[in-house]
Structures are given as C-alpha cells and as structure tokens.
Point group: C2
C-alpha cells in the first residue's frame, strides 16, 4: 500500500515523539512492503512564529490532499492574544471535517500499578470513548461586551452532527461488547435532550447493541468507581474533553495513550498527552502514545497485521522495561532509545 502522510509535529515534545512514530512506520513499511511518504508541515505556536498563522494555508492544503495526518501537539496555554496556537488544531478539525475523536482506555497488564486507582478497580477495563469534536460550544457563537462585564458561549448541535458520530459509535459497539453509553446532561441541557432523542432513534437500527444513558456528573463518578462497566462511551465535545482526560488516569500513564480523529474523508492520529513544553528537547518524552497513534493509523487503513505488530513491539518494550522515566523512575532510556527499540523490534 502507498500512503501519503502529513506529519504535523507542532510544539513542545511534538517533534520528538512524531519522529519515533515515523521510525515505527518506516519499519512497518520495510517489513510489510508498504510505502509511507511523509510530508512535514507547520502547526501551532511554531507556525505562528514562522508564518503568523497557527494553521498556515500550506499546511491545510497538504492535509486536505493527503491520506492521513500524524499529529504531535500544540501549545495549549491560554494567551490573551487572538492568535492562539490551539486555534491551529481547532481549525484543522473543522476544515478536515473531523468529527469523531476516538480514545481507547485499556490499561496494560504489566503496568497496572502505575494507576492511582486500585488494581481491582481497573483490571480488565476496556472501553472506547467517542467524543464529538466538530461542534458544540467549541465552535458556536461567543460574545463578550467591551467593558468586560459580560460574556456568553453558545452550544449548538444539529441532528446531522449527532447522527454521523453515533453511527460510528454504534458500529464499533457491534464489534465489541455491544453496549453504548450516551453521556449527557439531559436533565438540564436542551442539546443533551436532542442527543438522547437522535441516538434513541438510531438505536433501532442496531438492535444487538444495548443503549444506556448516563448523566455527565454520574459518569464522572462511574468512570473512577467502576470503569469495567463501559464498552463504548459516546458524548459531545466539552463533556468528552473533560471525561476522556479523566479516563486517561485509569492507566496511570498518559504517555501511553493514542487517539484517532475521523471525518468522512480525513483522519488524524494524535497522542493524548499535550505539548509538555517543560519536557522539550530533553529526550524524556514517552514516544509510545505517538507510536500507538501510528498503529491506529495502520488499523484505519485495514492494515491489521501491521497494526498488531506495532502493538506487539510496544508490549515488548514495556515487558523488557525499555521505557521512559514516566513509566519507570529508574529507567535509563530516553525518547530516542525507546523509539529505536520499537522500530528495531518491528
């Protein structure tokens, strides 16, 4: 297979970890006889610095004409200027029509003790979060008055926005444990009531999937108290932002968690951890989240054996303790060494 991949390394530790993901993909290419061609482009803070635009036109055009995007991280600090680095990522999500952010939550048997949660709580946890990322309060009208005494954010959702991600979530549930949990705040929000209505209607087309509803506040408790109960969680943008980050603590290692963002004709793969500026250029960033994002990319294109091979290599690195210090404080391995081990193993 030939794949053209846009590599948007971005800020902070982005470039270091994306390099390791590329190495893993190169190795897969050699072993399985695929050709992966990478084209680098700017995004985020570094793009503002060099072009004055967090999402330069060139980057957007590349992404629109590519098979997939491998994404590092953008600086997400709050700045008072209107040119926010994260606007690069947000605009990209919208321009590529990426509506579903997908995050698997499944702790590694060898690493259960890293979690702040007790072993008996997290053992055998295995769920996936489908977070809507093209709508809601992220993209609806915002207002503030000049004297700075008032502000508002609108949160809008349309039926179509709910339908497209819900189908994806239902289909995924069908291939898994056949349970879908819609998380919302339908006792308060009108948009949540729309989500319930639309998802309830769609559920008729998936009679083998059990549909459950959970309020966002209750979900925030249940994710910690009893994470094993979940199979597929579906939710809107802002709840998904909060709850998927919350769920990431289950594994105790955010440096391990990959994500995929899918649209009807685009796909972006990105580690869950952010740009972690304090870790930049210290060779301490965990490259596994990026490497597993590359594995999700392979899976997305139906390259199942290839994706499994990457997982196997990661598993091996963890088993042999070839990991960065976030996973093992006594580790002598850095970002590069872990990346090399995984590429070589492949």
């Amino acid at each position: 297979m030939n794949l053209k991949i846009a590599a948007l390394a971005g800020d902070g530790i982005g470039p270091e970890v994306i390099l390791q993901a590329k190495k893993a993909l190169y190795a897969i290419g050699v072993v399985f006889d695929h050709e992966f061609v990478f084209e680098d482009a700017l995004i985020g803070s570094i793009a503002i610095e060099k072009t004055g635009n967090p999402l330069p036109e060139q980057t957007l055009n590349l992404c629109l004409n590519t098979d997939a995007v491998l994404f590092g991280a953008v600086d997400d600090t709050v700045s008072s200027t209107k040119l926010r680095p994260i606007q690069g990522l947000l605009n990209l999500r919208q321009a590529l029509g990426l509506y579903a952010n997908i995050r698997p939550v499944k702790p590694y048997a060898d690493l259960l003790d890293l979690s702040p949660l007790k072993r008996k709580i997290i053992e055998n946890t295995d769920f996936i979060i489908f977070r809507e990322i093209s709508g809601g309060s992220y993209f609806s009208e915002k207002k503030s008055n000049e004297t700075g005494t008032f502000a508002s954010d609108l949160c809008e959702y349309s039926e179509e926005e709910i339908i497209r991600i819900s189908h994806l979530a239902f289909r995924t549930a069908q291939k898994r444990n056949k349970k879908l949990t819609l998380v919302d705040k339908a006792n308060i929000l009108e948009t949540s009531r729309l989500w319930r209505k639309v998802v309830t209607e769609l559920a008729e087309g998936y009679p083998d999937v059990i549909l459950e509803f959970l309020l966002a506040d209750a979900a925030a408790m249940q994710i910690i108290i009893n994470p094993k109960q979940f199979d597929v969680i579906l939710t809107e943008n802002l709840f998904g932002d909060i709850l998927s980050d919350e769920a990431s603590v289950i594994t105790g290692a955010i440096g391990l968690l990959p994500s995929a963002s899918l649209g009807s004709s685009s796909a972006l793969f990105e580690p869950v951890h952010g740009s972690f500026p304090e870790g930049k250029n210290k060779n301490i960033a965990n490259p596994i989240a990026s490497i597993l994002s590359a594995a999700m990319l392979l899976e997305h294109f139906g390259l199942h054996a290839e994706s499994l091979k990457v997982f196997e290599a990661v598993q091996k690195a963890i088993e042999l303790n070839v990991v960065t210090a976030d996973l093992n404080p006594y580790s002598k391995f850095g970002t590069n060494e872990v990346g090399d081990f995984i590429a070589n193993y492949i």
Copy 2:
C-alpha cells in the same frame, strides 16, 4: 439561639435521612440550649404529585421566611414532561439567590480503604469546591426547533455573578491553606476568559492567597492523580457539577458528603448523594451526609462548638462501626440506628 429551619425532605431516601439530621439537631438544641423549629414542606416529585408544582408557592414562601433550609433530595431522572422534579431545586436555588455550592472533600482516616484510589494518593487530601450554581448554562436561554433537528444552550455569565462567589472562595482560602485554583476552559470559552479576568482582578485584594488556573480537562485528571495539591477550587456551574461529583469518589463513600448552598440572605444544606429511589424505605440509606449537612448549618450560624460536636459523634459512629452497609458490608445497622446512635452520643 433560635433558628427556624425549613425541612424539604423531597424524594427517594430524602425523608429518611432528613429525619436523622433533625434528630441530631434536636439533640444539639437540648445540650447547648438552642431552639430549632422545623417546618416541613414539599419539593420535587412528591410536590408535583400533591400540588402539580415541583416548587409549590407555599414551600418557596416558607424558605424565603426562614433562617435556613435543610434539604433532602429530588428525583433527578430525565423525564420528557416539562414538569421535572429537579426544577424544584433549580427554581429554589434561583429564588433564594443561592449562588455558591460548597463541598468539602476530606477522606476519613478510618475509611481510607473504601476509596477506589490508592491510600497514598488520597491520604491528607483536604480541599473545598466552590461551585457557582445560579448562572451559566443551567439558567441561560435554551432553544430547540419543532422538527427536533436542532438545539442550543446558551451559557452566560456576568461580572457580578463571578464576583460574589469569588469573594467567598478567597475568604475561605485565607482561613485555610491560602491557595485558590480557578478551573475553567479559558482556551476555548469566552465565559471562562471572563472568569479569569474577574478573578485575577479580585486577587489583588487577597495578596496572601496564591491564585492558580487550571483547565477543566486537566483538572479532571489532577483531582484523581494528585488531589492533595488543592486547597480551594472555584468554578462555574456545569464544570462544578461534573468535577464535584468526580471529587466525591476520593472518599469512596458518597453517603458521607455534605454540602452547603449559600446566598446573600439564604442558606440551604443538602447531602451530596441524590434521591436513590432504589433505597427508599429500606432503612439502608446512610444518614451521615445529611447529619453533616446539619453540622454545616450550625457552623454557618457561628455555632462552632455545636458543629464540632456533630462531627465528633459522626467520627465516633465510624470508629465504632455503627454505620450503614455502604461503609461496612457486614453492618447490621440501618439508617435509623445510625441516626439514633449519633443523636444519643450528642
């Protein structure tokens, strides 16, 4: 002291636990020579059933002419009718001008093992959440079209709404560990940026308090990974709803957690757990959250020794294992027995 207290037991286990809180307050009245007069009134589902209104006028008038409200729980299930039981609570919050919901998060040394989190993570955790409860998307304009293909929720905040709760939070931080963490999503939401601006300005009046900012997604992680870092958390309505329920898991026992909702001339005290309809009339509900809500009521009126006495009695019940089955699966004690023990101890 003479206090007139409106008792709004509400739905589910509300009446049972409010009865125990009353017993504790009676006992305090006898020992410390105060007169607490209770007046019962309807709210929630039961109020709809008997009067067609989740917040009957009589209830509201009583609450407006009373010193404090002792609140049980309302049925919070999502119903398709416009007469939602929770509307009783929401309308009451607005009518009484209750703007700050306050929840202490502090695990009991004797009960650390109940938590889904590891002991070393939660030990010595001691923080308070100040959640704004009169504004934001709970009370701003909601829309949906007739064909059911579109919905929106507005989230509005004004400077004044932010100022009044922030002063409360700053003053509390001054009396504690002098750290205030504002949780928002200022990289996305205009209302969050208003919160940051207003709180930053107010901070000048509290030079002894360290002000920190944390994004809501990061907060959802930090509350689990490192809860000890917090002293006072301040946040808007919806984030507060989610994050305070999340934080409640730290103790491993939601049946222990009290809350206070304060306004400029009203105060309402309420257990964090909801109406738990499955537990109704089974004498299994944990009355401690309600009893500690009564302790917060005493503290609110400056009755410090009295409040301490209630805490001491609760502590004793826990120490002697006179607790309900949620705290000890082998327990033979019910709601009533625990309530009696605490009242007698007082």
